[in-house]
């Protein structure tokens, strides 16, 4: 992994930039020294040496241009990107030139505020050849990342200069909040005690009814002991179980009376909400999300997870408003859904927050403590 911002000055012209490497600085310095010596001594052999060095510089420029010319790049990002989560982008580097290879290419896609980006190194691409390679990268913050800059560079042939092509791209990337690994998410936050019976026949583990066997019934459901007593085949019917439901309520508009909310704590709250949603959905819960900007009803599935993560990737911390709205927006009032357990994620410490069996309030000190325990 390598940070892309370099310390040396960069010359830029028509999307191309030229940066001197340390060896290049030494080379330029030597060229100037030899030029000075040639002028002072009027020694033509020193002029010849200087001409050779100038030629090396010119050849470097021409060959690096030749290396960059005719290269086509294809950049594919992974489907889900999480903040601070290393991911691998897939690159395809195609040399469209007819008969000239390209050497020592470096490829990267740079987004504003990108935390870390590994340059892709391609030693050689023959004419007409395509090479597919992966490069690691990560983003430091959740949210939309727009207007990437694609960078193709080479320091071929001598490593004296690094010539780079920079072109603006239109690809947009949505980065989801950072995920914490919550292995025991339901136990961690004492979830799972609510009613799961639905009152309907279906697939489940509890008995709903016994009836006589009918053609087409699954023989596995025959209750043999009861059938023996009644001398007729009796099958059992099961009650359809309803999945456990959790509504995550992220408080992103603090009441006026609450202590000031730091950006870091809010980001941690968002991250915790995303982690809970991810962990609970993986454990079979139906998960919903509500913030001051809207509500997503509890459901299951990957598409639903993406909907929640999308919302969390873009959620913002709002400034406090009037007290009535504050109370509702803060999520401190009990939720309306009786069959749904609610997890209220508070980004500030609030000792007065009331809890009930179906409404659990999680404050920063609590989740930090639990996360430390999880880490251990």
């Amino acid at each position: 992994m390598k940070f892309l911002t370099g310390p040396s000055p960069v010359l830029s012209y028509r999307n191309r930039s030229l940066r001197l490497t340390p060896e290049g600085v030494l080379f330029i310095f030597l060229t100037l020294v030899v030029g000075g010596l040639a002028i002072n001594t009027a020694n033509n052999l020193l002029y010849l040496l200087m001409a050779l060095m100038v030629t090396v510089i010119m050849v470097s420029g021409v060959l690096s241009e030749w290396c960059l010319k005719g290269i086509r790049l294809e950049h594919k990002m992974p489907g889900r990107l999480f903040a601070h989560e290393p991911a691998t982008a897939r690159w395809t580097v195609l040399n469209q030139k007819s008969f000239l290879p390209s050497y020592t290419l470096r490829v990267s896609a740079e987004y504003p505020h990108m935390a870390c980006n590994e340059e892709l190194f391609v030693a050689r691409v023959l004419p007409g050849e395509a090479q597919s390679l992966g490069s690691a990268f990560s983003f430091g913050h959740r949210g939309f990342y727009k207007s990437p800059t694609y960078r193709l560079s080479t320091d071929f042939p001598f490593g004296l200069f690094e010539k780079a092509l920079r072109l603006p791209g239109t690809q947009e990337v949505l980065v989801y909040p950072k995920l914490h690994r919550l292995w025991t998410v339901d136990e961690t936050f004492a979830l799972g005690g609510e009613e799961r019976s639905s009152g309907k026949i279906g697939e489940g583990s509890s008995l709903y009814n016994l009836r006589h066997y009918q053609q087409g019934d699954n023989p596995k459901h025959i209750r043999w002991k009861v059938s023996a007593r009644q001398a007729k085949l009796v099958v059992e019917e099961q009650e359809q179980e309803r999945d456990p439901r959790v509504q995550i309520r992220l408080v992103n508009r603090a009441p006026a009376a609450s202590p000031p909310v730091s950006e870091a704590d809010f980001e941690e709250a968002v991250s915790l909400s995303a982690s809970l949603a991810y962990g609970l959905l993986r454990k079979g819960y139906e998960v919903g999300l509500s913030t001051s900007e809207g509500e997503i009803a509890p459901k299951r599935g990957k598409a639903h997870l993406d909907r929640i993560l999308y919302h969390l990737a873009l959620v913002r911390l709002h400034s406090p408003q009037d007290p009535k709205k504050d109370a509702k927006a803060a999520g401190l009032t009990p939720p309306g859904r009786r069959s749904c357990q609610t997890l209220v994620i508070l980004p500030w410490e609030d000792a007065a927050a009331t809890e009930s069996p179906r409404c659990r309030v999680i404050t920063p000190s609590q989740w930090k403590k639990r996360l430390e325990e999880e880490q251990e």
């Binding site: 002072n40 009027a42 050779l52 090396v56 050849v59 005719g70 469209q96 050849e129 597919s132």
Partner: protein, 695 residues
């Protein structure tokens, strides 16, 4: 990790070229140069050994301390300059680095050391060996730098396995060639603004004897064993020269005291030239075959201005000349650098009346100055009369003496005179063996004994003809002395009694020597001494030629034809014309390349490109169309397939090509080289299918 052998070899080749260049300047102590070259060979050997046993760190610590100590002593006691001591230390650093090449950075440091060596060598000398070492150094540098660069980005094995292919080596060599030509173009166009404040001193002038106002007898002998170049002479219209002997005249002597020749008639007077044109020499003959020539004189420790016998005019960059009554020409001061001048002479031809004269009436001043004989050489007259025998005319007598010496005396440079004996007397009556000085002195004295005015002249024979540069190469070994005898009608005529000798060197060595000398002259003319006036002259010529060309081109078709002839004559007809044309084409090509790459987007995410799959698909459509199945514009590629009444096997191939094309064309898929080859294979097998062959 093991470095690739190619990089190891390239780095050592670079070190070898730099060290050799430095050693050839002659400014490095022989033991130091030998140690450096041996270290290069040894370190190269270690790269081929699987597990070489090299000295440990303790050895290098001690050696480094000793090297530093030697540097200090060298700096204060031995070395002639700071640079020389630094160069010796640089050679030690090279040796140390050669045995510690443990990474790309170490290789780069080795490149830097080699560069500093070349830089030092260039400051020390400008010899011809640079003409060879510079291009080779450039090639080795490019090769080494490329390999270092590639070895940085890849595992070592991959450099050797994948990149060091014959095309790569051809590429680096071609790159070096192109770079060299570019470097030459830069070299010739960079303005020579050199102030020369710290210019190195001129080389020490060549010491020559025999060209002063008094010359000890026998002093030319040692000179004739030296091979150092003295002058080079080009002769105009060389092919039409008459078969007359060419002699490059230096100094004439009139008095011999038995031990030395001297010029008593040496009252020199200054000779100034007219406002324009050459110097007209007062002693120039009125008759003779005219010859024009140019002489490039090496720096000699004598102010003598050499010219073909007998010079009539001289032109060159000199304020005035000095001449003596015997026709010897002197520069105002002894030149300290190479000096070029033009001259015209008249090769002496005796007049018919002088051939028949039996007793000549000589002018009194001639009789007074050129009949002197040392008193202790009484037997010379008898020998002269014996040699002339029955010769009647003066010319016959002169030729008889010349022939007598040529036939009866032997040429040798190894002459020893017994103690107490007069060397010329020993030559004439004793050993009868000597070299040109003995022969010429003997003839002069014999002619004087016959009352024929004569004098001895020292100078040079034309030496070796260089067919490559079309000039005469005159070395110290070509130093010569001959006789000038006076004839009333013709003036001074040259005679040479020295028998000819065979060349000692083998033909191929002589040929190579001539070619190297030709290269040396070119090297020094166009590289070492290339200057601002040369640049101005070239620019003026370019401007003049361009004006002429434009004027001709304005005259329509006839002018264009003339312009073509003019270009051929002005550029391509010259020795370097084709090289200049090649350079111009190279430069234009590079410019176009750079311009075209600047003007277009080099790569794109959305641009339409000619995919390899599209090429194969279009080739397939073309093949099918030739057999009667043409794709209508209204059909999509897949609709077109469904309408083809072909065998299922062929349809499968067509469909695979079409789907791959669609995936690339509309889906953005990029084919790998294997996939591309597979598509081509499908098309090839389709073409060989029997169901498609007939429409």
């Amino acid at each position: 990790m093991t470095r690739p052998p190619a990089l190891e070899i390239a780095t050592r080749l670079l070190a070898l070229l730099a060290s050799l260049s430095l050693a050839l300047t002659g400014q490095v102590y022989v033991p130091v140069a030998a140690a450096a070259l041996a270290a290069i060979g040894l370190s190269l050997l270690t790269t081929f050994l699987p597990s070489p046993r090299l000295p440990g760190p303790r050895f290098w610590q001690v050696l480094s301390m000793l090297a530093f100590l030697a540097f200090v002593i060298d700096f204060f006691a031995w070395a002639e300059s700071v640079l020389q001591a630094a160069v010796h230390l640089l050679l030690y650093l090279m040796i140390y680095r050669l045995f510690h090449l443990d990474g790309p950075k170490a290789h780069l440091q080795m490149c830097l050391i080699a560069f500093l060596q070349i830089l030092s060598a260039a400051q020390y000398s400008s010899g011809l060996f640079f003409a060879f070492s510079f291009p080779l150094f450039l090639l080795a540098s490019i090769w080494t730098l490329l390999l270092i660069h590639l070895s940085r980005g890849l595992p070592a094995g991959q450099v050797r396995a994948n990149l060091l292919t014959p095309p790569f080596l051809i590429f680096t060599t071609a790159l070096s060639l192109v770079s060299f030509f570019f470097a030459l173009a830069v070299f010739f166009t960079v303005p020579r603004a050199g102030a020369g404040l710290f210019a190195r001193g001129e080389p020490e002038p060549v010491h020559v004897v025999g060209f002063s106002e008094q010359v000890d007898f026998g002093s030319l002998g040692p000179l004739k064993k030296e091979q150092q170049m003295v002058l080079r002479m080009t002769v105009a219209d060389y092919a039409n020269l008459p078969p007359l002997p060419l002699r490059i005249r230096g100094v004439a002597f009139d008095t011999f005291d038995g031990k030395a020749w001297s010029a008593r008639r040496n009252a020199k007077r200054n000779l100034f030239r007219p406002d324009t044109g050459p110097f007209f020499l007062p002693q120039s003959p009125r008759r003779g075959f005219p010859v024009d020539y140019q002489i490039l004189l090496e720096p000699l420790k004598t102010p003598i201005l050499f010219g073909l016998s007998f010079p009539s005019t001289v032109s060159g960059d000199m304020p005035f000349l000095r001449v003596d009554p015997q026709g010897s020409v002197y520069l105002p001061v002894t030149p300290t650098s190479r000096f070029s001048y033009r001259g015209s002479s008249r090769l002496p031809v005796i007049t018919p009346p002088d051939l028949k004269i039996e007793r000549a009436d000589y002018p009194p001043e001639i009789l007074k100055g050129y009949l002197q004989i040392p008193p202790d050489l009484a037997g010379v007259e008898g020998l002269a009369r014996k040699a002339t025998g029955r010769a009647v005319t003066v010319h016959e007598k002169v030729k008889a003496v010349e022939s007598f010496l040529m036939r009866n005396y032997h040429y040798s440079l190894d002459v020893t005179t017994p103690p107490g004996k007069n060397p010329i007397e020993d030559f004439l009556f004793g050993s009868k063996t000597g070299y040109c000085e003995h022969f010429a002195t003997a003839m002069t004295l014999m002619l004087r004994a016959l009352d024929i005015p004569a004098r001895l002249v020292t100078g040079f024979l034309p030496g070796e003809w260089n067919e490559f540069g079309e000039y005469y190469m005159v070395r110290q070994s070509d130093a010569h002395s001959w006789v000038e005898a006076y004839f009333p009608g013709s003036g001074w005529m040259t005679f040479d009694p020295t028998p000819p000798t065979l060349p000692e060197r083998k033909a191929w060595i002589a040929g190579m020597s001539r070619y190297l000398d030709h290269l040396r002259i070119r090297w020094e003319r166009y590289i070492v001494h290339y200057s601002l006036p040369d640049q101005m002259k070239a620019l003026t010529q370019v401007k003049s030629h361009t004006d002429t060309l434009l004027r001709l081109l304005r005259d329509g078709w006839g002018g264009a034809l003339k312009a073509r002839d003019f270009v051929y004559g002005a550029v391509l007809g010259r020795p370097w014309g084709w090289w200049m044309l090649a350079l111009a084409i190279l430069g234009a090509g590079a410019g176009l390349f750079i311009f075209s790459s600047r003007g277009t987007r080099a790569w794109s995410f959305s641009g339409k490109i000619s995919e390899p799959s599209a090429q194969v698909y279009l080739a397939m459509l073309s093949y099918l169309a030739a057999r009667g199945w043409t794709k209508a514009p209204s059909h999509t590629p897949l609709e077109f397939i469904r309408r083809l009444p072909l065998a299922p096997e062929d349809l499968r191939k067509i469909e695979e090509i079409t789907r791959t094309y669609c995936a690339c064309r509309f889906g953005g898929q990029i084919l790998s080289s294997e996939q591309r080859e597979h598509m081509k294979g499908l098309l090839k097998s389709l073409k060989s299918s029997s169901s498609i062959s007939a429409p």
